[in-house]
Subunit: 164 residues, 2 copies
DNA sequence: GTTGTAATGAGAATCATTCCCATATAGTGT
DNA sequence: ACACTATATGGGAATGATTCTCATTACAAC
C-alpha cells in the first residue's frame, strides 16, 4: 500500500475497455482512474486537478471523456451544474448518491437490496409505458450535510441553485 | 399562449411566494410560469425562449432565478448539462423523470405510491446514518426515447448543445 | 405627480467545457 | 535499435450556457 491502493482488477478493466476502442491506458488515464477510485465519491474536474497538480485542464477533460466513452467512468449530475465523475458501476459497484444542497458535495451511499429491487421493477414498468428502453436509474437524496448544518445560514450557497 | 389553461391557484401561489420576498408577479414571470405549467416536462432556457419569442435571454435567466428563489420553480438536472426548469412540486405535484440518454429530453413520470413510500423510508434511514438532514429525493430513469431508438446511431445527439 | 424600489433588456463578462494543432510518445514491424 | 504510423499530450483559442452591469422603465405608496 505504498502509493496506490487500487485493486489491480480496476486497472485491468480500464486497460481492457480502452483497448477495445484502440485506445491506450496511458499514465494520465491511470492517474485519473486512481484518483477516482480512491476518492469514494464523484469528483468534479477542479477537484481532480487539485489532486493532480501537474495535470493540464485540457488533458483532464479529454481523458475523462475518453474514459467515459470506454465505459470506465460515468458522469454524475448533482445539485449544481458541475460535472462530477466516478468509476463506472461495473468497476466500482452499484450505488447511489447523497448530495448537500448547500455546498454541492456528493457522497456515495449503498441502498438496501429490497429498495433496489423495487426501483428496478418500477423503472421497467414506467419506462415501458412510455416506450423507452431503460438503461439505468438514478436515485439521489438531497439534504444538508453535517458541516453545512452547523454553518449559520449561508443563503443556500452559490452552487446549489434550486435543488429539490 | 392565449387562453392559458393554467389553474388559477398556480398563479396565486406564485404571486404569494414572490410577494413574501417583496418581489412582483410581473407579466414576464407570469409568462414563465404559464410556459412551465403547460409544458408537462422540464424545459431548458432555449426551449423557453422558443415558446416566448419576444423574451430576451437575460430576462429569462434573471426571472427563472427569481422564481427559484421564491420557491415557485425548481431546477432539474438531466442527462446533459443543460439546466432544465419546472414548477416546484408544491405547485405541480411530486413526480419523477425519464431522461433520454441520446437527445437529453426529460419527461415527467408518476411513480406508484408503494415505490414512493419505499424511497422515502430508504431516504430517511440512509441519510440519518450519514448525519444528513434530508430535504428530498430524486429518482430519475435513464433510457432511450422512442424517437432515438429509430435513429441509426447518432453519437449522443446534437441536442446536447443547442435547444430541442 | 413625486419618489423609491423593483424590473426590464441589451450587451459585456464569466466560467466550465470543447476544440485545435504542433509536438511527443507508445506500439508495431524490420 | 530504427523507422513508421496512430494516438496522446498540453497550451491556448473558441464555444456556449449562464451571470452580471447598468441605464431605462414600470409600479406602489404617499
Amino acid at each position: 500500500m505504498a502509493g496506490v491502493s487500487v485493486a489491480a482488477s480496476v486497472h485491468e478493466q480500464a486497460a481492457l475497455r480502452l483497448g477495445g476502442l484502440d485506445q491506450r491506458y496511458t499514465p494520465v488515464r491511470r492517474a485519473l482512474v486512481t484518483t477516482l477510485a480512491t476518492a469514494g465519491r464523484p469528483l468534479s474536474i477542479p477537484e481532480i486537478l487539485e489532486v493532480n497538480e501537474a495535470l493540464p485542464q485540457s488533458s483532464a477533460y479529454r481523458n475523462v471523456t475518453a474514459l467515459i466513452e470506454a465505459g470506465v467512468v460515468r458522469r454524475v449530475t448533482g445539485v449544481d451544474d458541475h460535472g462530477r465523475f466516478e468509476l463506472a458501476e461495473e468497476l466500482a459497484g452499484h450505488h447511489h448518491h447523497l448530495a448537500c444542497a448547500r455546498c454541492g458535495t456528493v457522497e456515495d451511499i449503498v441502498p438496501s437490496p429490497r429498495l433496489e429491487r423495487a426501483m428496478d421493477e418500477a423503472a421497467r414498468v414506467v419506462a415501458e409505458e412510455q416506450g423507452y428502453q431503460v438503461t439505468g436509474h438514478q436515485f439521489d437524496l438531497v439534504g444538508t450535510c453535517p458541516t453545512c448544518q452547523l454553518a449559520p445560514d449561508a443563503p443556500t450557497m452559490p452552487n446549489a441553485r434550486g435543488a429539490l
